[in-house]
Amino acid sequence: MAFDILEAGLSTTVQDQGRIGYYRFGIPQGGSMDQYSATLANRLVGNTAAEAVLECTYIGPKLVTRADAVIAVTGAPVDVFVNGEIRAEYERITLVAGDELKFGVIKGGTKYFIAVHGGIDVPEVLGSRSTYPIGAIGGVEGRALAAGDLVPVGAAIDNGLPALQSIDVVDRPVFSRDVNVRVMLGLYDHHLSAEGLESLLTSEWVLTPVADRMGLRYSGPGVGWKDREQPFGAGQDPSNIVDAGYAVGSIQIPGGTQPIILHRDAVSGGGYAMVATVISADMDLVARCSPGTKTRFVAVTMDQALDARHDYSARAARIWS
């Protein structure tokens, strides 16, 4: 069983829960940028949470299925068409061999996900099927899909759960153009001046079009830094540090002008001061933001971040119970 890719879309990649355990060697975790949306798609088609899906970016693929299939589309709002007829997102969709799947113009957000029963069955690389295009590993030949690709679909599986026809509206993610993103300060917030810290946490930052799986850049008033003599190896700009590891979700502000949130395909270390880190529970929220989204960074404590992570996990777990 496989899908024939007629048109690839802007950047359609195979993603799963990520390639965990290799970040210290410089291999990012990767995986679906909006993990919650991806898990909803897997639930609808009768998979486990671990099956690989197709992550579509703004413009999805046009594909034809070679065999009967159960699919679902979740994530950013978009019209789904099967043989030219509109079908609902967040619902189980049955395809018969030869059916053509395509998409309309995206209506918000950035990413939508196509799950298929059996999962996208590309070979695992370092324990994951996620595509990491910069490293040319995972997915289909380590790259985004191209027209003419044949994307393999795995054999039927039994997840032991009753079939789910549709995701309740309350369980669907929200796509907003105005968000509060929770962050923990550090590790290098002490390099910011008092006004710089104030600006980071009280300004309205606007997501620019410079945003992808590696990072998302925001425009705004900028930040100031404390005067200090740059240590050897740190470079001359006050936004520079001696190289250090980057936490997933780190916010760096090169030159003090435009904050960048490092997302799932970002490098694991470098020489920019990380002034704050997006909490893990809000990484999906960041992934859902389209250019122009007004964003405030709200500082929380470790306890609040852990509570938020617990709530996030519990919400996802409800879908699988």
Partner: protein
């Protein structure tokens, strides 16, 4: 790749089409700095012809006309921000 499709406004007797952006990003009317625009208002265009570029995620996607006609008006300025579904130009 024809990223852009045209919608037909069938109310009008004279066939008018909108060229819609399916992408967010920055719209450019020229292929590069110092180059001539792909097309100017009032000029004739043919189906498949490039009328501009949208830059997103370090990729430049060509915006193409889907029908023969005249490019009546650009609704987005050069270097303007577009969102998915925005009308970039109107043709007749």
């Amino acid at each position: 790749m024809a990223w852009i499709h045209a919608d037909q406004s069938d109310e009008s007797e004279r066939m008018s089409h909108q060229i819609i952006s399916p992408l967010p990003g920055i719209f450019y009317r020229k292929p590069g700095p110092g180059k001539e625009p792909y097309v100017n208002e009032g000029e004739t265009i043919s189906a498949g012809q490039t009328i501009g570029l949208v830059e997103i995620m370090k990729q430049f996607s060509e915006v193409r006309a889907e029908f023969d006609g005249v490019l009546e008006k650009f609704e987005i300025d050069d270097f303007g921000i577009v969102n998915p579904g925005d009308v970039i130009a109107i043709t007749s």
